[in-house]
């Protein structure tokens, strides 16, 4: 059994920063992500059933717009949670990023997705949790080195994890940005009145001037315009939409979870805050085969324990 090691004096303001941040991130990981996941799955099942039962086109449109709206909600959740690490708007204030997550910013998700193709690898590393923007570009390893810890194997594993995660994220953000761009108007139309156009009394005209059969049609919300699908059956539209929400949920979950690693390394008891073993300190989010097995084993097994009275942390690669 390890000693109870008190938290350092210089930890962030517990009441106004640390605990609100921890609570918000826990709510994202343990409540909001599962909520969006269940809602999306429910909407998808309902849409597939509506198609299978060959319901009237307006009902099919409503069901598929519901999936689009759920997907947009997932995308916005991910943007709201991740943007404070790459597009900080309140960095001049000392409250941590939690305040930013609770401030409504109508342009946040748009900026987040539509600027992502211009991000440097370093900015992706801010999202992935490998690096911090304060001071810019600092890595987790820099923080460990400052504490007197250095391990070449870990340095290599970190570099591999960071590079693979950045590569994967860059590819996936292209997908997220495309879906955001095309789905957000449908999401707004669904939310602000479910603005269906009656298919029995309307025709969608495609770009080539031809009538688009089986088009799903809606009025735009809050501005002039109409939305409709073309050159695709409703089933194909649904297939195209399907993965976007799930990917956004994974992103939100990943961002919250990687930040919680630090929060969860602090415990609280009647004497105040104390340090807990630090696990999963170096994150990764990659496709199968993108990281060597031995790297993943090292990263998954890395635990940093704290010993009272020892000025330097003692790290063990366990398991």
């Amino acid at each position: 059994m390890t000693d109870r090691v008190p938290a350092p004096d210089e930890m962030p303001d517990i009441q106004r920063n640390f605990l609100p941040t921890r609570a918000l991130l826990l709510s994202v990981r343990d409540t909001l992500c599962p909520s969006r996941e269940l809602a999306l799955a429910d909407a998808l099942t309902a849409a597939r059933q509506t198609l299978a039962r060959q319901r009237p086109l307006d009902e099919v449109a409503a069901a598929i717009f519901a999936v689009m709206w759920e997907s947009v909600s997932c995308l916005e959740l991910a943007a709201n949670i991740a943007a404070p690490w790459v597009d900080r708007q309140m960095g001049h204030l000392p409250h941590g990023r939690w305040a930013e997550m609770t401030r409504y910013d109508g342009g946040r998700a748009n900026r987040f997705y539509e600027s992502s193709h211009n991000w440097t690898d370093e900015r992706f590393a801010y999202v992935s949790g490998h690096r911090f923007d304060e001071p810019p570009g600092t890595s987790i390893l820099d923080a460990l080195r400052e504490g007197g810890f250095q391990d070449d194997r870990l340095d290599r594993a970190f570099a591999e994890a960071e590079a693979a995660t950045t590569r994967w994220m860059r590819k996936k953000f292209e997908q997220l940005a495309t879906r955001w761009h095309l789905l957000r108007s449908y999401g707004a139309s669904y939310e602000h009145g479910l603005l269906l156009v009656p298919s029995a009394h309307a025709e969608a005209v495609a770009k080539d001037g031809m009538v688009a059969p089986d088009a799903l049609m809606a009025w735009e919300s809050r501005k002039d315009g109409v939305l409709h699908t073309e050159h695709a059956t409703p089933r194909e539209v649904l297939d195209w939409v399907e993965g976007a929400g799930e990917l956004a949920i994974r992103l939100a979950d990943y961002v919250a979870d990687t930040r919680l690693v630090l929060s969860e390394s602090f415990g609280f008891d009647h004497e105040g805050a104390f340090l807990r073993p630090l696990r999963n300190l170096i994150p990764y989010w990659v496709e199968d085969g993108d990281l060597p097995d031995e790297t993943m084993t090292l990263l998954d097994g890395f635990t940093l324990n704290w010993i009272r009275g020892n000025p330097e942390p003692n790290a063990d690669a366990v398991r």
């Binding site: 605990l19 269940l38 809602a39 009237p56 069901a63 409504y104 479910l194 156009v197 009394h201 050159h231």
Partner: protein, 293 residues
């Protein structure tokens, strides 16, 4: 395949029957919107019922109820928004383009309409429910039964409206928070140690299940932020009552929209649903039928 987005006029050709250009129609787009009421009502109703069933299953299985409770409440809030917007559109007929009023309405506008139409006289005007003064020019024998039917209808719609208006502030909060990805803290995160620090401090623990809805405003010039929070009741009891009111509100919106389409298609000034006419004495029912188009 990708969904396409076209500017207005270039992408859709409408062929709506009836007096859609008449001043009382509110414009072709508004009529077209109202014509999809049945599909909308069916969709909203089913999505809420599925969520309600999922919550009951989660409760029974003693799974964490918050994830389901949140999207259940969110779906109800979105359905109530339909009703608020429709009311704004109907109210605007004769004053401005009803569809623009409907579509451009802000949340503040929706809050205001839910409040404003609690007043029966205002609701009658907005929803075209006749008063004695409105029908003074109709044949003498028609006036008493039509007024009687209108009074029954106004009473019914007022009750439905007030019930929906009562639920709107709570459901709106959850719906908008959930839609924009705002973290919503469950009761346990706030109340149980170590808590959420300064966030949520002093929140009364009044319900067995609630979330903390938090909003932050920034005064950039003063380098100052203000964070406010309020608890939103998500107890099963509240959600069941809300579901009852919202499902009723969905049917209400459906009835309002269909009544509007009926008025436009028959060029009628007043439309009274047949279930209301059935509540009248037989002689009054006969008189209304004789005059009906």
């Amino acid at each position: 395949m990708e969904p396409n987005h076209e500017p207005q006029g270039a992408g859709i050709r409408l062929t709506i029957p009836g007096a859609i250009e008449a001043p009382f129609a509110g414009g072709p787009r508004f009529v077209a919107y109202c014509m999809t009421a049945d599909a909308r009502a069916r969709h909203r109703r089913n999505s809420i019922k599925r969520a309600g069933n999922a919550l009951r299953r989660a409760d029974k299985a003693e799974r964490d109820p918050y994830p389901v409770a949140l999207f259940y409440a969110q779906r109800m809030g979105v359905a109530l928004e339909d009703l608020g917007r429709l009311a704004i559109g109907l109210e605007a007929i004769g004053q401005r383009d009803a569809f623009d009023a409907f579509r451009l309405a802000s949340l503040d506008d929706i809050d205001a309409v839910f409040d404003r139409l609690r007043n029966e006289a205002t609701l009658r005007r907005a929803f075209r429910v006749a008063t004695a003064g409105d029908i003074a020019d109709l044949p003498n024998d028609l006036q008493p039964p039509l007024l009687a039917a209108s009074d029954v209808l106004a009473g019914q719609w007022c009750r439905q409206w007030r019930s929906c208006a009562a639920g709107w502030p709570l459901l709106r909060r959850i719906a908008k928070g959930a839609r924009h990805g705002t973290p919503l803290l469950s009761r346990e995160l706030v109340v149980d140690p170590p808590g959420a620090g300064a966030l949520g401090k002093g929140t009364p623990d009044r319900f067995d299940r609630w979330v903390l809805v938090t909003t932050t405003d920034e005064d950039r010039a003063e380098r100052h932020i203000t964070t406010q929070w309020v608890e939103a009741d998500l107890s099963s009891d509240m959600l069941e009552r809300a579901e009852e009111a919202v499902l009723d509100g969905i049917e209400f919106a459906n009835g309002l929209a269909n009544a509007h389409v009926h008025r436009v298609q028959t060029s009628s000034k007043w439309a009274v649903p047949s279930n209301v006419i059935r509540t009248l004495p037989s002689d009054q029912r006969r008189t209304i039928r004789e005059h009906a188009l």
